[in-house]
Amino acid sequence: MSQPIIDRLVTALGTILLGKDGQIRLALACLLSRGHLLLEDLPGMGKTTLSHALAKVLGLEYQRIQFTSDLLPADIIGTTLFNPGQSQFEFRKGPVFSEVLLADEINRATPKTQGALLEAMEERQVTVEGHSYPLPHQFFVIATQNPVTQMGTFPLPESQLDRFLMRISLGYPDPKVERALLKGKNPRDELEFLQPAVSKTELDALQKKVSTVHVSDALLDYVQRILAHTRESSQFVVGLSPRAGMALVKSARAFALVSGREHVIPEDVQAVLGPVAEHRLSGSRDVTGHEGERLVDHVLKHVPVIGSR
C-alpha cells in the first residue's frame, strides 16, 4: 500500500536525476526518517537539482538560501525589526521557517552562520531575543556542500556534521546519461513541471510507517558487530557513537521501506552505512578528512554478516 507511493516518488525523481536511482532512494530514505540531508560533491554534479526535485516531489513548501561568507545568522533565522511607526519590535521569520530549507554551499558561510542553522536543525525551533518560534511540522534541511579541499570554505566541524542523518555524494553520471545531457537535455527545465507525487497525509503516513519496519535480533547483532568493529579496530580513531548507531538503524528501516520491504535485511544496513557513517568516522591515518569512505569499505568487508554477536 505504501509501495505505489514510493514507486511514484522514485519515478518522478528519476526523470529529473537520470541514472541516480541509488542516491534517490537514499535521499528519500533520509527524508522519510525525518533526517536532514547533506549533499556533497563538486559543483555541477546535480546537487541543487536533486534538492529542488526532492522538495517539489514531496509537495513541501521550500526556500533556498545561497550561503556566502557574508551571510549573517539573521539572514537565515529571521530578524527583529524595529517598526518606527508603532515604535515596537516585531520578529520577521527568516527562510528557516519553511518545510524544506535548501542550504546551498553551506560550507561557504562563516562558522557562526552555520552554527545558527545547525542549532535550528537540532532543536526544530528558533529562539530569538528570548522568544521561541517552533519550526513547521515537516522541517528538512537539504544542504549542499563542496568538498573541503575547495578554496575559501569553512568546513563543517565534526560535531555539526553529526546533525545530518546522511551525507550523499552524487558522483559523475554514467556515459549514457551524460550523453543525453550533452545533447541538450536540461534537467532543470523539467524541474519546472514537476508535480508533487504525494500528499501531506500520505507523507505523514509514510514517515510513521518507517518506525514499524521490523528489525530482528539477528539484524541488531549485525549492527552491533559493526559498531563494535569501529570501536575496537585500530583503523578508527573514534568509533561510531550510540547516536550514530541509532541513525543507522533508523535509516536502514527507511531504506527497507523504500526498497519495498517491511523488515530490514543486512543489505539495507550496508546501503545506508556509507551515507550515515562516513561523515562521522575518522581514521587513524586521516589527515585529509576523507577517510570515511575507506573506513566504511573496511567495515563492509570485515564485519561478518552471519555470526554471533
Binding site: 521490523h214 523488515h263 530490514v264 563492509l300 568487508k301 554478516v305 555470526g307
Partner: protein, 680 residues
C-alpha cells in the same frame, strides 16, 4: 615493595595459601606416629607463624632464627633416632626440612619447592604402608597438592578454593590411565645399587626373645600379621600353628631365640612327611625379622628362604616390606625320631645354673611319680594346669626373680608364654629335651576369599618335647588351661577386657556388629587383592604378563607394546583435551543451514565474502549460475525470512507457496530440505 615481599612473601593468592596449608597438614599426618614427639608442637608453631606472615601480622623469621630452628630441628631428629640413616630418621629429617621451608617461602619458587617437598613427604608414606587405603589417602593428598599448584599459577587472586580442586581432580583423573599403563608395562629393572638399610623400625610382632609380657603386648594389637591363601581346604583350627621361631635358651627370666638356625641346616633325612598336605601362599606384612611363618613341616618355595634344622625358615635378610611366598605343609610329620645329637641334647636340656629351685624339684618329682615316662610326665603337667587353680589372663600379676616358681606356685595366672615356658622348664628339669616355639595360632577365615587373616593378637607360644621314637611332639599347655583359646581362636578365650585395650576404636572391638564385621572383612579382601595384584607386582610378574601378551619377549616387542598403549592413551587425551571444545560462534540452526549452502557453493568457487549479505550474494550468484536461480532465490528468501522478518510474515511466505503451517521449525525444515537437495 621489594621489602614487603621480603617481609611477607610474594602475593600468594589466598586460595593457594589455604590449599598449601591443607597440603602440609595432610602430607605430615601419616608420619606423625613415626617422628619425634616434639615435632607436633613445632609443626603447629610453624604453621601459626606462617599464617601470621600471610596475614601480614608478623614478618618472616630472621636468618639467624631460621638457622637456629633448622639446626636444632635436625639435631633433635638425630638425637631421637640416634642416626641419620634408615627410613624413620630419613623421613623425620625430610619433614623437618619441609617444616622449616615454610618459614622461608618468600618467592614463588620457594612455594614450588614446598610443593615438590610435599611430593617427597607423601611418597615416603609408601615406605611404611602399602595398603590400598594408604594409596587412596595419598591420591587424595595428591589432589590437594596439585590444586595448590593450580592456585599458585592462577592469576586471579580471588578464586574459591573449590575451583583449583576441581581442575586438579580433572588433571589427575586424566593422568591415571597413562600411569596404569606405565605401571604394568614399563620395564622393571633391578635395584641400581644395593641399599644397606639398617632398619630400626618398630615393627609390631614377635621378637627374638620372649619375656613375660611380650605376647600380651601383641594381643592388644589388631594389626595384620599375615594372610594365608589356600589352594585347597583351609586347615582346621588345631592345625593352624604358624611356626616362626624356636626359643631354646632360658636365662631364668627370658627365653631367647635359638642361634641354631645359624649353624644347623635342615637335613631332609630327619623328616618323615605324612600324607596330608596343604598348599598355600603367605602374604607377610613386614616384620623386621627374618623368620618366615609356615605350618610345620613346611617347604617354602622362595629363593631367598632357607630351611633350618628347627623346622623353621629364615629369609636372606630382614623383611622390611611385605613379602609373599608359596608354602607346602605336611602336618602329619615326624622329625628326628631317631635321636638327637649330643649337642642338641645339651641345648634342649639347658637351664640356668640357679634359680627357680622349687620348679626344678617339682619337675623331677613329677617325673619320678610318672614312672620316668615322658608321656606320663606331660600328661600330669597338663592335668595340673587343667584341674588346679590356673587361670588364663592377658593381665597377669608381675613376677619377681624366680618367675617360674612364682607363676607355678603363687600367682597361677598367665597366658601362653607363661604356661609354655613353665612347661618347658619342668620338662627340662626332668631331663627331657624340650623347647619353646613362637609364632601364631589360629587365624580368621575370610568369608569371601579362600584365605585366613592372622593378626598380631593371634601371636602364640607353645612347647615341643622330644620323645624317643616319636621325635619332636607339639604340646600346647595353653590348651589345657584355656581350651577356647585353641578351639575358637584368641578372641573368645579371655573373659576379661584386657584384650586389645590399645585400640578402643579398632574395628575388632566392634566385630560383633554384623554389618561392621562384614564391612571390615570386605575391606580386608579388597586390600588383599590390592596387595596380591598391585603391590607385589614385580619384574617376575611383569615377565609373565609380557609372555602372555607378546608370546616371545624381546626388547623391541616390549617397546612396541608400551609405545603403542601409551600412544593410544595420549591420543585419546589429545582428542579429549584439545579437540573437545566447540567453536565459540553460537550460530543457530538457520545460520548453520545457510552456511552449509554457502560452503556447497564455495566448493565450486562461488565463495561468499564474510561481509557479503545474503541478498547481494544471491544476486551475484544468479548472474553467474542462471540455471540454479530459482533454488538460490528460494533458499535465500527463506533464510532472510527466518532471520530478519517478523513472525507474522513467516506465515505469509508459507501460505503463498507451500503446505507447511508456517511455524519456525517448519520453515527450517523446508530450508534444510532445500539446502540438502541443492546441487550445482
Amino acid at each position: 615493595m621489594a621489602r614487603d615481599v621480603k617481609r611477607h612473601g610474594f602475593p600468594m593468592p589466598r586460595s593457594a595459601f589455604v590449599l598449601l596449608l591443607i597440603t602440609n597438614v595432610l602430607a605430615v599426618i601419616p608420619h606423625l606416629e613415626r617422628v619425634p614427639g616434639w615435632m607436633l608442637p613445632a609443626f603447629g608453631g610453624v604453621l601459626l607463624w606462617r599464617i601470621q606472615v600471610f596475614r601480614q601480622r608478623w614478618p618472616f623469621p630472621g636468618r639467624s632464627v631460621r638457622l637456629l630452628l633448622v639446626v636444632s630441628g635436625f639435631a633433635g631428629v638425630i638425637l631421637h633416632h640416634g642416626t641419620v640413616l634408615g627410613p624413620d630418621a630419613g623421613v623425620a629429617l625430610l619433614i623437618t626440612a619441609y617444616l622449616f621451608k615454610q618459614l622461608e617461602m618468600v618467592t614463588r619458587r620457594d612455594a614450588f619447592l614446598v610443593v615438590i617437598l610435599s611430593y617427597f613427604v607423601l611418597a615416603t608414606e609408601f615406605l611404611f604402608s602399602r595398603s590400598l587405603y594408604s594409596t587412596l589417602y595419598v591420591l587424595l593428598v595428591l589432589v590437594v597438592i596439585t590444586a595448590t599448584q593450580v592456585a599458585l599459577n592462577h592469576s586471579g587472586s580471588r578464586i574459591a578454593v573449590t575451583q583449583p580442586l576441581k581442575v586438579s581432580a580433572k588433571l589427575i583423573l586424566q593422568s591415571i590411565p597413562l600411569m596404569i599403563a606405565l605401571f604394568f608395562l614399563f620395564p622393571r629393572v633391578g635395584p641400581l645399587w644395593q641399599l644397606n638399610l639398617t632398619n630400626k623400625q618398630n615393627f609390631i610382632g614377635l621378637s627374638d626373645r620372649m619375656s613375660p609380657g611380650d605376647i600380651a603386648e601383641l594381643s592388644r594389637s589388631g594389626n595384620l600379621a599375615f594372610r594365608a591363601e589356600f589352594r585347597g581346604d583351609v586347615p582346621p583350627m588345631r592345625d593352624r600353628y604358624w611356626r616362626a621361631a624356636v626359643f631354646d635358651w632360658f636365662d631364668g627370666r627370658t627365653w631367647h631365640a635359638s642361634q641354631a638356625d645359624r649353624f644347623d641346616a635342615f637335613n631332609p633325612q630327619d623328616l618323615a612327611r605324612g600324607q596330608r598336605r596343604y598348599d598355600y601362599r603367605i602374604i607377610l606384612e613386614p616384620t623386621g625379622q627374618r623368620w618366615l611363618m609356615a605350618m610345620a613341616a613346611a617347604e617354602v618355595h622362595l629363593g631367598d628362604a632357607r630351611a633350618t634344622g628347627l623346622l623353621t625358615h629364615v629369609h636372606k635378610k630382614e623383611i622390611d616390606s611385605a613379602l609373599s611366598y608359596d608354602v607346602t605343609s605336611y602336618p602329619d610329620f615326624r622329625y628326628q625320631p631317631d635321636g638327637l645329637t649330643a649337642r642338641e641334647g645339651m641345648i634342649y636340656r639347658q637351664l640356668p645354673a640357679t634359680g627357680n629351685d622349687a620348679a626344678r624339684r617339682h619337675g623331677r618329682e613329677l617325673f619320678r611319680k610318672a614312672g620316668e615316662s615322658p608321656q606320663a610326665l606331660i600328661e600330669s603337667i597338663l592335668r595340673a594346669f587343667r584341674e588346679e587353680e590356673f587361670y588364663y589372663t592377658l593381665k597377669p600379676p608381675l613376677l619377681g626373680a624366680n618367675t617360674v616358681d612364682e607363676f607355678l606356685f603363687q600367682t597361677r595366672r598367665g597366658y601362653c608364654a607363661h604356661y609354655a615356658g613353665a612347661f618347658v622348664f619342668l620338662l627340662r628339669s626332668a631331663g627331657i629335651p624340650a623347647r619353646l616355639v613362637g609364632g601364631y595360632h589360629g587365624g580368621e577365615a575370610h568369608p569371601i576369599g579362600n584365605y585366613l587373616l592372622v593378626h598380631q593378637y593371634d601371636a602364640h607360644a607353645w612347647a615341643e618335647a622330644w620323645i624317643a621314637g616319636q621325635g619332636w611332639v607339639r604340646v600346647d599347655p595353653t590348651a589345657a588351661v584355656a581350651p577356647n583359646r585353641i578351639e575358637m581362636g584368641s578372641l573368645d578365650s579371655t573373659s576379661d577386657d584386657s584384650f586389645m585395650t590399645d585400640s578402643p576404636l579398632s574395628p575388632e572391638r566392634l566385630r560383633n556388629m554384623a554389618l561392621f564385621a562384614r564391612a571390615r572383612l570386605l575391606a580386608d579382601y579388597v586390600d588383599y587383592l590390592w596387595f596380591k595384584n598391585v603391590v607385589s607386582y614385580n619384574s617376575e610378574k611383569q615377565n609373565q604378563l609380557f609372555r602372555s601378551l607378546l608370546g616371545q619377549v624381546t626388547p623391541q616387542r616390549i617397546a612396541a607394546l608400551l609405545g603403542g598403549v601409551a600412544a593410544v592413551i595420549v591420543l585419546i587425551l589429545v582428542v579429549g583435551i584439545l579437540l573437545r571444545h566447540p567453536a565459540m560462534r553460537t550460530l543457530d540452526r538457520t545460520d548453520r543451514l545457510y552456511l552449509q549452502f554457502c560452503s556447497k557453493l564455495a566448493r565450486r568457487g562461488f565463495e561468499r565474502q564474510p561481509g557479503e549479505g545474503p541478498q547481494s550474494y544471491a544476486d551475484r550468484l544468479c548472474q553467474q549460475l542462471p540455471a540454479q536461480t530459482t533454488q538460490i532465490r528460494r533458499i535465500t528468501e527463506i533464510y532472510l525470512t527466518l532471520k530478519y522478518a517478523p513472525a507474522v510474515q513467516r506465515g505469509n511466505i508459507q501460505q503463498q507457496k507451500s503446505q507447511y503451517s508456517g511455524t519456525l521449525s517448519d520453515l527450517q525444515k523446508d530450508l534444510q530440505l532445500r539446502v540438502r537437495s541443492f546441487r550445482l
